[in-house]
Symmetry: C2
Subunit: 346 residues, 2 copies
DNA sequence: TTGTAAGCGTTATCAG
DNA sequence: CTGATAACGCTTACAA
């Protein structure tokens, strides 16, 4: 059906995009009728008219112009998903999951990559996008939108769902706290009584590290363990070596390290190898994401895998609630979303 | 200056955005004059008029409505970057590089992830997006847009820069051939007389593999070596083992493997370890991207690193030339963009 | 050198 | 039930 429609559209008007007047002509009604039927209640029209309009629209492959719609209405059905300047291993999966969920809610998603925080140009791109699209919402995956800009966007009428920052606690924050806690729980279960959190040090921002570390710290506090150390691990041998060396000084109890990602875990593993401490004997390592490459190194990584779909469901559910839409996803990530992949590093 | 302007705007008209008619009124000219001065040559107006208009615009904090502009112009300042359904390790770097470059040219970038080739939804999504946004351009990172659809989009008036496919040779294709050749040159320089190309087998598409392999093959032909074998490597232990086993049968000359990515190289390395062949003695491995994780495994990966910024500069330069903009980037990737990172696998 | 007026495609109001 | 008509804010011939 779709292919047929598109073919027809191509045959019909080479060069000019399909507009509502085309649909109106084909259906034998006025532009206003088309607009009404395509937006408001289909109820108030003759079934036959509705049928004709819908058929005509489908046949021509008609899509409302975002520009014109935004101009007339003041806002569009588009949601801008802002990706922070952060190293995210399974970024593609996350984006696809969010897009799919928003699509089910009737929103069209466009993804915008925020540049490095400093660059003035970075926020300019998003501003231009918001000005043009008047989006139904701006979803910030993690501190990509600075507070003052968020305010400016709200002033422009955009619904900014950016509660994921460290600044105000929200589901995103909760989710990351949970991740840290689950990693810590595994380490404790494996017998490690001294914990640490390892974040990534690669020049990019890390909006989630603090929450993850907080999750680890919370468990330590509950169990009466020492507060976890925090180390920043760069993805290179020398840096990893130094980072590990700072922690495995004396001959205290074995150290369990919860890592920001599998890449960081691999770095810690490399650092441990360089320093000459035994894994998992003296140091235990658990990564995050359960990425394939983690299973290819020796020894295989222990990692906390996440169900991406379920894990990001709450993001779209937030927007849905703003617009009063029904949604089946949970309001915040639960432990069932995660699962430990047992490797050889714990 | 900017803050001042915004404050004034806020004070002046709470609620309603500043339009060009406001500027015109304040400057004592017509809307047309404002538009002319703000867009075209400032030359053709009285310095005093120009001054007044500019001052008025600044004072009110006026910003052109992108929606209205798009509507009048027929297209927006938005560029859609289409990412193929491919596993790209440094995808984020590539996207950010392209975004930054386009931003400098005055475009706002949105990223569209093309679904699996078969899925009708994937191409339909892009079509809908193009119809909605009327983008200034559609940039295809690699065979994400099938030829028929590209034609259809062009018919809709979109500027499609999608010459990167294998179908028609272009800068992108050249670049990938070059990558394969440079990898092969390194392997040959290290003494390997039997080459192979290893692509990634993960269910996603691989738009660049053919060109990379062609680059390897070309060098082999020039040097009178046997044509390179081609193996598909999945990112898991068992699969990697099998892939390696098929190639290192007898006791022929040492085999040099040029890999699609560092992840694939790590998989080949793992496979070799499992099969029990020596690296770099019996098998030499060179990855691609020079990713950090490649330097953290043991032995360290030899890899062909790429300067992402320079490597993708030609993409934005293509669009710039279409719009007659000045750009300093080269028209196609050159060898200087790449550099071999010597590790322990060759 | 500057102004007038006709669109661009959609939505909302108000008649018929 | 359906259809004119008027915005929305900007660009751009064309006229003065």
């Amino acid at each position: 059906m779709a292919e047929q429609a598109e073919e027809q559209a191509a045959e019909r008007a080479p060069g000019r995009p399909v507009t509502s007047v085309d649909v109106a002509r084909l259906a034998g009604v006025s532009r206003a009728t088309v607009s009404h039927i395509l937006n408001h209640q289909v109820q108030r029209f003759t079934p036959r008219t509705v049928e004709r309009v819908l058929a005509a629209a489908a046949e021509l492959g008609y899509v409302k112009s975002a520009a014109a719609r935004a101009l007339a209405l003041g806002h569009s059905d588009i949601v801008i998903l802002v990706v922070p300047d952060t190293t995210l291993s399974n970024l593609q999966d996350v984006i696809e999951a969010v897009s799919a969920q928003l699509q089910d809610l009737g929103f069209a998603t466009v993804v915008h990559f925020a540049g490095p925080q400093g660059a003035a140009s970075g926020t300019a791109g998003l501003t231009a996008l918001v000005d043009m699209l008047r989006p139904a919402g701006v979803l910030d995956l993690g501190e990509a939108v600075p507070p003052e800009q968020a305010e400016r966007l709200r002033a422009s009428g955009a619904v900014v769902v950016a509660e994921y920052g460290v600044r105000e606690a929200g589901p995103m924050s909760d989710g990351n706290v949970l991740i840290g806690r689950l990693q810590a729980e595994h380490l404790v279960a494996q017998g490690y009584r001294r914990l640490a959190y390892a974040s990534l040090d690669d020049g990019r921002r890390d909006p989630w590290g603090r929450d993850r570390a907080a999750g680890v710290a919370a468990l330590c506090a509950e169990l009466g363990l020492d507060p976890p150390a925090h180390l920043e691990v760069p993805l290179d041998r020398a840096g990893a070596r130094e980072a590990v060396r700072t922690l495995v000084g004396g001959d205290g109890p074995a150290l369990g390290v919860a890592c920001f990602s599998d890449d960081v875990a691999i770095a810690v593993l490399a650092g441990a190898r360089e320093v000459g401490v035994e894994v998992p004997g003296q140091v235990g390592i658990i990564g995050f994401a359960g990425s394939p490459v983690g299973q290819l190194v020796a020894p295989r990584l222990t990692s906390l895998a996440a169900d991406v779909d379920a894990g990001v469901a709450f993001i779209s559910s937030r927007l849905a609630s703003v617009y009063g839409l029904e949604v089946d996803g949970a309001q915040r990530p639960a432990a069932e979303v995660f699962e430990v992949v047992q490797g050889g590093t714990t």
